[in-house]
């Protein structure tokens, strides 16, 4: 890259560390920031430090929150007998957007991925176990980790771990996306849809 001042170079490098931002986008964002008013740039910077400073993990579900216990965990209308275990806080937003699920969540902040140096201590598994021991009203754990090798391995691991406790461990159904054409389904998805077929009543 040609002749940027050190501060601009530093900004570009910091931006390109963000997920999904390559060198070119980082450059584009940096130049946009340079053309902002100094107040607007300061407000953007402030929003980063403020959000990070005020955000902590919910003592109960480990989701990001600005209170000790997050609004979902402290909502008396939620069904406290079900816990949906997800990989990231973004997954909670996705579930909530659906307006169908009324139970609670547990955010793992990752999955078991030995290839990526993520082991069971890097995710919030011990907090989940502790929570299940403390809150005996929990009757079902829905493993909603992603449908890939790591997500499946984590789900299997948790289900084995919980089998002595008698808590029901379920996994989200795997199959054809709604509205999709069978013609365009990949082999694995189709095989899983076949394996998981259900009786029509």
């Amino acid at each position: 890259m040609a002749r940027y001042s050190p501060s601009v170079q530093n900004l570009i490098s910091k931006l390109s560390d963000l997920p999904g931002i390559g060198g070119k986008s980082a450059q584009r964002l940096a130049f946009h920031i340079l053309s902002m008013s100094e107040n607007d740039a300061a407000a953007l910077a402030e929003s980063i430090t403020e959000a990070r400073r005020l955000t902590k993990r919910c003592q109960c579900c480990q989701n990001f929150t600005d209170t000790d216990v997050c609004p979902i965990c402290s909502d008396p209308k939620r069904d406290t007998s079900v816990v949906c275990v997800v990989e990231s806080p973004r997954d909670v937003s996705t579930f909530e957007r659906m307006h169908e699920y009324k139970g609670l969540y547990h955010v793992l902040h990752g999955v078991y991925n030995p290839m990526n140096n993520k082991n069971m201590n890097d995710i919030t598994l011990s907090q989940l176990i502790e929570r299940l021991q403390k809150h005996t009203e929990i009757k079902e754990v829905i493993m909603a980790t992603n449908q890939n090798v790591e997500g499946n391995a984590t789900a299997l691991f948790v289900s084995r771990l919980l089998s002595p406790t008698g808590i029901k461990v379920t996994r989200l159904a795997s199959g054809l996306p709604t509205g999709s054409d069978i013609e365009f389904a990949d082999d694995l998805t189709l095989a899983n849809a076949l394996k998981g077929r259900i009786e029509i009543n």
Copy 2:
């Protein structure tokens, strides 16, 4: 969007104001920032304010720089008789990456775009005229604005404006990209390539 704390909501909204960052990417970036260490988040915020604070426009070419006159304008090895007029600082980087052009630049910071409320006073046209009057060694102005309606209009406007001065005003060649197949060329590009055909010597 569901149940974000005000500070996170603010971060997401600030990020989605950036070019090329939609709602979903903003959310993804925000959650990444929340999972960074507080020091790393502070360093990112700092890089924004620092770059913006230290960056100004070059007194000569209007490109972003941290000195009064940018390194290109103050480089004695550059050819001061040619000025390449571009829309944005990013275009300067693109030209410099090529290592072919040895002249100077002038950054318009926009184009003439009446539909978008950008008129001639919003771009650095008066600074260009002033520069040409002051630096009589400039013999050629290359209009390297983008190959679209606004870029062409701006190029035409500048060439008319400069016609009494005797300064040569040129435009980058418009035609088929190198390595491209004629089969896939769009009609306008092909028409321009035909119109601009040159004799083979």
